[in-house]
Symmetry: D2
Subunit: 457 residues, 4 copies
């Protein structure tokens, strides 16, 4: 019997039902139910025979879910109810014993923690994959010069390897963030009951051990009110997606006719419905476009949790779609980034030509003067003046006359000045640790390989 | 001389200048400049005499900043330029040597990392403070019964101590998040130069050691493009603020006449301009209201970084106001939460009365039947039927007749049923680990004290 | 032939394909294609025979879409390509003539504008529906007193009708917002081509007229770059959802045992998996919970459009899922709000009792003194003092002694004071326009009915 | 006397006080107080002498605010209290009569509506200004060819005037949005009292008329709970800022060495602290960077209002900083956009050269075949094949041999094909309404001028 005298309104069912998406929790729900049944029997709350019946039923449910022939029913509001209903169809009334000493509140928190942990691990593998490809690419393009940009203006030349490795370290930090996510899923909610604990002296530690949790959540109220670990995943994903959006934006830019630094593989570009000549960097654009979506999921879940009194409120059902779409979006974005950069062809001529504009050596000229004893700020002014003369007269720095150089500064030896304006020295002079000189990039590449090996181990 | 022939437009200055807020980086800028000057001298890039002159000038600058009499000039665009200008006024042309082998790009990234680290540490102390007060309050209200709520409906009774400790564990996770933030500020950006490294063989390791960084950033391009640590702080703050918003919302609710669970201290409430009787929980409302602001800062910085090509872009100047306001907002919110709950007076009568509604024992009746061997799902149905009869006839469960009980289930012994409906057993029967039974709450309180001691150590 | 030598990567297809959601544009795409074909023939760009063949084919496509047996193919990347492919299967090579003088860029912008307009109209109907129910409810509960709250503290009594009508006016503003959305979909994008216009002297005005647009977009570049109307819908929806969240929050609050102001219909509430007594206001909680989701969609699309160079970029494909989910979410929320409040039973005893707490009349006492000539601010102080005496001694205002009243103010006539503290006068004295006195609420109800009639006409 | 026995805690004051920003409401507060005082006297609630004393006092307050010598006091929590306090200092106890028949709740809602209206008007002027400059620029660069881009790939050539006018129409829609904002500020909140109306038969209509409101808010509860008009301003500003971010992004791109389409004025660019050659487009970058900030303000206020029970809650104090910063940010951004584009120098050679890449004419070749009777889809395939041959062999389309052309399609006449590949025809053939042919751009320019004149009138 129910305490309700009216069936749910059709619109209410539409608003309320989560089965359309929470079916994805199915495997985790079966796994936790199996552990719960074993514990109930071990604690003497159900019999061994009941346990065996439950385990057998759960095995069949699991198989049905895996095979895609689990018979969903119209009245299944969520995956937990669907599984309990199906279990009871398979195993008989004993199915009704499974929900002893637990509630949907601790059950769903447990499923969500298990889902989050599993997908954080998958994300970590995807990140490692893109990192490996970056290391290979850096190795293959070790000494290809290109302009480094600040404010999208050519600033100083760097090697392409150095630029690519910048993304390696971004992803290294992303990995650290997903490792932190794992650390937020270590406390088992199951056994917290509806909110207050349960009327049985259960062995939560045993369940935790079986399900791979490190410990049990110490406070039952918090256990069912907590979705921090979902926020953690969303936040880590948002930063990773923001990194990917920068990579996507650079690929879009570099594959423009104006830059011409990269040719994206045909397999990662599209044509136009009307313009036959077009080869559009759709994948790179979508890489750029997905970050706001994930950031929005993060903001939305914060919004949902905002101001919610303890403990469980139905609002918290909104955690699922935000997490699921984030997991899927990030997964395909990481895979796409990996595939796309692996197939990209960089254009050494265009990059080198862009890097040989001699204005890009202005800092080096200033530092040359520093080494003659002129304070840096004064050097900066001298060279800025030379740049103005050159730009106004449409010449390169190297084309300035001895007289013009002498007028700017008596410390400026014309021969040394012109010597300096030969490209390679600009790159190789950046000898500081982490700089673009080849020896430094090689050190960095070794460090990247070590970081990757350590992590993969 | 400048390479520019026109002065900046007044509107451009207004848009561009950051001095109005980045003056807060002053102390960090002086500290890093001091370390940089020492390193330049040690590496033979400047002389010992120059170093001493710079250090003396920086000391005076520091003093002026501290005393609030640093003479800002109208043309100071940002704090870095202001300090260099002032230093040169004080020390003469040698001031112009300080910017050797660094750029504003690595300089500002370093200041921001130092600022973030310093404030993450302060935030950690604030969190510990509110945790201590929660432990004291839990201790003082150990066995005060109140209703636990799900869906804001009375669900099962709990002790007030248990409810308060739920917040303890939320803040414990927040602390873990700010510890993670610290771990994101360990790599020194300084020495990355504009983006490519510098033309001098500097000793970045020495600077890192002096400024408390664990290592140097391994890639100069990444070092100046990276604001992950700011995102990390904002994300940690957003979750903490969301927790505080739940606390604020509960205090608002509990101080309503309808709940009447708490009286907030006069020192944390306001009157009305028109209604003389009003005592409004303004502080609690603002605690609730601030989370969306911090979440917005987080979303905004993601938006700024979204799709930005490497390396530094002016857009990144937007990191500051979002971080500064977040730091200030979270700081005052944590302090307010601490002060407000310390002064709150809980109303034991109102809470107990609310917790003694016998419908709240329905789960216990169901579990009682479970212990007679009835499957839980069947028990749930039996009790739901009893609830419906009681509610429809305006009686409590205890007022149901023997005949009504027998009609519901033959396993239901009327005497045991009525015995069960005496309040304290409902609380003390929640014996599972993390549950609300007093022994369990005492265990939990010990765990909380240990966690706090460990952390404080 | 294609200009590509490699087929799309499987992961790229997964990232790129929009057919999984943009099938919803199908009916609009057929409608615009029909208008386009007619115009092409009228302008002499295709023959009448071609037009007839296209129209016949489109009719069949439309039927298949409607019947749900449109044969989607694995290579269908989006609904536009799917329809063109299918049309060509049905009608032969003439199908290839349909894309003359248009591009996917103007085509999709047109579909989206049509979709937005159609759904804005549906939303307007839903809003009118909930407004009608509010008017009925206000009428039925015209003179039921309840406390009005500020800061969730009882402030001044109002009639339930007055409170319910507050939502009427919120929805009135929402309607105004969706009318504005309609005004943003009046300019036909079709015919802008890829971005520059087309190589044919087409009759865009005729297409606009046939499809119900008021005029043609004046700039082809803007026409394909513009998604303002989607932002407008999302923004209108966000505000409407925020209003609904306030309604949901009040229903949750009012159906708590502590408030007890409303009993929600069984058809709009759920039970608990573990606690047999529970009747949870799930629908009201979800009404509250959905606003952050819609606000997030709005923020996400702004994020996508942020910093995009003109004209069309693939990023803009992200407009669809945000719009579609918003439309669906708002639709079910408005329907749920309507159904839920129509079935709600208000509890006149609980509301009246809460409204009769005499502290709530403090403003009236102050205003009574004002009418004796005391400045309001002084009156406020006098009454605040009386409140303090009453609260400190656990009495109502009416229980204060003559001596206590005299001590507070000599203008305070005890008889008039106690007379005033009789409930009904507190309500009926709020005689200002828009106030809670019954004559004013009746005026307001008439105004609401007029606004509704005007709009429905 | 106060009903409080403790003074506010220092931290509470810090959290609670709004005087640090709401001083900006000062002029509006004085203006509404003046209208309120006149109405109180006209309605016989205060005497004419009291009114005159209040008006005299308010005039002095207004002057002090304007002159910047209003004496703020440490205990001033907000501007409303500060003004009332000061008024009472100036005018004596009569100052305490001003707050008769109003509350801070309706007072602040009124100030905010007045502030919003005033700033929406200013924003409209700023928008008109940038539109005027765009019209002038379009006129001055009417026939300058440049590539139109989709996916940041060269797509079809357009005139610079046509591209610039795209922004004109975006701003036209923004203006429409701010006009809508005005329409949301037409209902006077003042006189709603705390929430229920007031105990006096006030003449709200007279106050509305004096303050420029069209009517009085019809429901007092809604009047003090409503912040829709702030959301409306924030939403309009967010879309406008997103438009500006696209303009900023294009200016950054176009001023890169690779594009070289524009030289930004020295007055709107900055140098580098280290690289003497740099001229950075800081203003354009900040134009791009500000959109996420304003979008965040919008999201934050939605978050604050989310789930708030009626009527006024202190949370709503958060409306101010979000609005004020948005107003200021948008104001400087619109001014900066206007100044920056007015001073920009476009580079006709670079743009023309980029537009003369003959691949950009591929659509025209396809349409040429359409005119020979080949279905568009087939034409697209033929030309795509030619593009592939050209690209693979490093030739332009015009360099393909007669044999290659014949192999692709027998309808392709080599002479006509090569004739077509002369640039100007590609532009002038886009003859459809709204297209880039000069006659169409001239029509558009006229339409823009009319729209502007209409609006300015």
């Amino acid at each position: 019997m129910s305490r309700f005298s009216q069936p749910p309104d059709r619109v209410f069912q539409q608003l309320n039902a989560s089965i359309g998406y929470d079916w994805r929790l199915g495997p985790y729900d079966v796994e936790q139910s199996r552990a719960h049944a074993k514990m109930l029997a071990a604690a003497g709350i159900i019999t061994a025979a009941d346990r065996d019946a439950l385990l057998a039923g759960l095995e069949r449910v699991e198989q049905e879910l895996e095979d895609g022939d689990f018979p969903f029913a119209p009245e299944d509001e969520d995956i937990h109810m669907a599984i309990e209903r199906r279990l009871t169809e398979i195993s008989g009334p004993v199915g009704g014993r499974l929900h002893t000493a637990r509630s949907r509140n601790d059950q769903v928190a447990t499923d969500m923690a298990m889902f989050t942990r599993a997908h954080a691990l998958t994300t970590l593998q995807r990140i490692q994959h893109v990192q490996s490809v970056l290391v290979q690419l850096a190795d293959a393009h070790l000494d290809w010069p290109m302009p480094g940009y600040t404010h999208l203006q050519r600033a100083q030349p760097v090697y392409l390897s150095h630029h690519l490795l910048a993304y390696f370290w971004m992803f290294r930090r992303d990995a650290r963030r997903f490792e932190f996510v794992l650390g937020g899923t270590t406390d088992l909610p199951l056994g917290a009951g509806a909110l207050a604990g349960v009327n049985f002296d259960t062995d939560r530690g045993a369940v935790a051990a079986e399900l791979g949790f490190e410990r049990v959540a110490p406070n039952s109220i918090d256990a069912v009110s907590n979705r921090d670990f979902v926020l953690d995943y969303l936040s880590a994903a948002a930063t990773c997606a923001t990194h990917l959006s920068r990579l996507g934006a650079e690929l879009v830019l570099w594959s423009s006719e104006e830059f011409g630094f990269v040719t994206l593989p045909d397999a990662w570009t599209s044509g136009s419905s009307i313009m036959p000549q077009k080869k559009n960097p759709d994948a790179a654009e979508l890489l750029r476009a997905k970050a706001p979506r994930i950031v929005a999921h993060l903001g939305a879940l914060h919004g949902v949790m905002h101001g919610l009194p303890l403990t469980y409120n139905k609002d918290m059902q909104e955690d699922k779609e935000h997490l699921f779409d984030t997991v899927d979006t990030l997964d395909v974005c990481l895979a796409a980034a990996t595939g796309m950069i692996r197939g990209a062809r960089f254009n050494v001529e265009r990059m080198s030509a862009a890097a040989s504009d001699d204005l890009i050596a202005a800092t080096d000229v200033a530092d040359h003067l520093v080494k003659q004893g002129v304070p840096f700020r004064a050097c900066h002014g001298i060279v800025a003046g030379l740049v103005r003369v050159a730009v106004d007269s449409g010449r390169s720095l190297a084309q300035l006359t001895d007289a013009e150089l002498a007028a700017a500064s008596e410390q400026l030896d014309p021969a040394a000045f012109r010597e300096l304006l030969s490209q390679s020295s600009w790159l190789e002079s950046k000898v500081s640790v982490g700089g673009t000189a080849l020896t430094r990039v090689r050190e960095q590449l070794d460090a990247a390989r070590s970081a990757l090996a350590l992590h993969a181990a």
